[in-house]
């Protein structure tokens, strides 16, 4: 049985138009999955069904063998952390410190431990100097950093990032990705919704959504060999691969192409 198991799931906000249609998705423990897809394809909606915020119209979502129902959600949520797309709507605390602490408080982490983790994760996202600031007085990227720290500090087994790095500078993004990779190596399950193909390349597996359905799902090495899949779902291939594909003269560019492929996956 898979760690995350979505079966024949459909979802609708209004009762009329189905936003998610017949989703079947199994994610194993310790996998790193990137979810891609055009605007409005249903990525955020899917993420919300995973944490029991939205209830499927049909089908089931199960986490670690337990099907999500109103009764089981509290227990299930202890295993999942989610960073929402808009950092602004997830500030609970009055200060950055309180906000990072909020999730831990609910998990009954001891005060000493909390202080330690806050110090650690605030530093991790580069917000250690802002602990006493109010959320309203942070820049866009700083808000995203705090939102991320609040979820990392909960140390859940599954972490979902919904375009959580869209407003970070390249340096901060790289830094965070390094840390997520470390978490991944420690065995965490990571689901990353993103529009940045270079970011998605860090994952093992790509899930591409289109118009509420899963359009393609597979290991990145496989999917990247099919440019048509990308073209049909509003995506763009990584630059190095675009180069490799357009250098068609195998005899002259063989070596160059091999290198471009290799370096794309070496990330």
């Amino acid at each position: 049985m898979s760690h995350i198991d979505i079966r024949d799931m459909s979802f609708t906000y209004t009762g009329k138009r189905m936003i998610l249609k017949d989703i079947n998705l199994q994610i194993e423990q310790g996998e790193w999955v990137a979810i891609l897809g055009h605007n409005g394809s249903g990525k955020s909606t899917l993420a919300k069904t995973l944490v029991g915020l939205l209830e499927p119209a049909q089908g089931t979502v199960a986490i670690a063998g337990t099907i999500i129902t109103p009764e089981t959600t509290p227990a299930i949520r202890k295993q999942i952390g989610i960073v929402f797309q808009n950092p602004d709507n997830q500030f609970v605390g009055v200060t950055v410190r309180d906000d990072i602490a909020f999730g831990m408080e609910n998990l009954c982490v001891s005060r000493e431990e909390m202080l330690e983790r806050i110090a650690f994760f605030a530093k991790k996202v580069g917000m250690e100097k802002y602990l006493d600031k109010e959320p309203a007085s942070l820049s866009g990227g700083q808000k995203q950093r705090v939102a991320i720290a609040g979820i990392l500090a909960m140390q859940t087994g599954i972490m979902i990032f919904d375009e959580a790095t869209s407003m970070l500078d390249p340096y901060a993004r790289e830094d965070l990705m390094k840390y997520i990779r470390q978490l991944h190596q420690e065995g965490l399950t990571i689901i990353m919704i993103t529009h940045e193909i270079e970011e998605a390349l860090l994952a093992d597996r790509l899930v591409i959504m289109k118009e509420g359905k899963i359009f393609a799902d597979g290991r990145k090495e496989e999917l990247l060999k099919q440019p048509e899949v990308f073209a049909q779902s509003a995506l763009v291939m990584p630059l190095a691969l675009q180069m490799a594909m357009q250098l068609d003269d195998e005899a002259t560019f063989g070596e160059v192409k091999a290198f471009l492929w290799e370096s794309t996956f070496a990330k």
């Binding site: 797309q85 970070l168 509003a234 995506l235 763009v236 560019f253 160059v256 370096s263």
Partner: protein, 286 residues
Amino acid sequence: MGIHFREVSFHYPQNQLTFYQAIADITLQIAKQDEFICLIGRTGSGKSTLAQHMNALLLPTEGSVEIFGSLITNKRDKKINYNLLRKHVGLVFQFPEYQLFEETVEKDIMFGPLNFHVPPEQAKQIASETIKLVGLDETYLKRNPFNLSGGEKKRVSIAGILAFDPDILVLDEPTSGLDPQGKIQMMELFKAIQAKTGKSIIIITHDMDLVYEHASRVIVLHDGSLIYDESPEVLFRRGDLEQFHLQYPNTIKVLSALRDRFGLDLDIYQKNLPDALLAIKKAVAR
């Protein structure tokens, strides 16, 4: 004409005793026409704060900003028609949620034109034209802007500014949250607007590829100070960008990796894919 910053500093009040200096001593001139400026810098460097000075949403604590001939200082001047300034300079906010407030997408897009005295029927017409420009279809017009996906909201927020046809466009991270092809189309749209009308466009972004490919001028902020104001060609030849938490564009990164790996005589400073391919072909032929 255009926008002229003269030694501008801005302080956010922090508590009763202290303040936070978000931008410091910025002097900067933006022409009314034909500029394509990218404003970059690490998170919290003051980009959004600077942008909000361009249409007098924030008033400088020190110094002055001249916007289309009106001198903005730290006191609100009764003689200045601020609404007119907003017609000159259109600002798209970083968070679309900060910008949308009407019950339907249509009303939201019409809000600007109506304020600038466009007749209602014509404003409606404009709304249905602009929504298509930003890559959504007319069915979105009747929807509630708060029930859209992140990228859809972003598109509507851009449409709301394009709709009243400002003379200068200031866009705070207009491509964050857009899907890759949407990003390309949005940039094409801005380019087309500029080609047609010559309007200056200022874009805040963290996307170095976009900067390298499109900007004619890059302004770099760091801790509230303006450190570079130059062409992207000059900027990305600098060796110290990482120190300011910036990066090099992908083309440069990939090409330099190739050059180092194969010892090619390769000009790595290429702005887009076709040029990069040509350069590789040339280098390999050598």
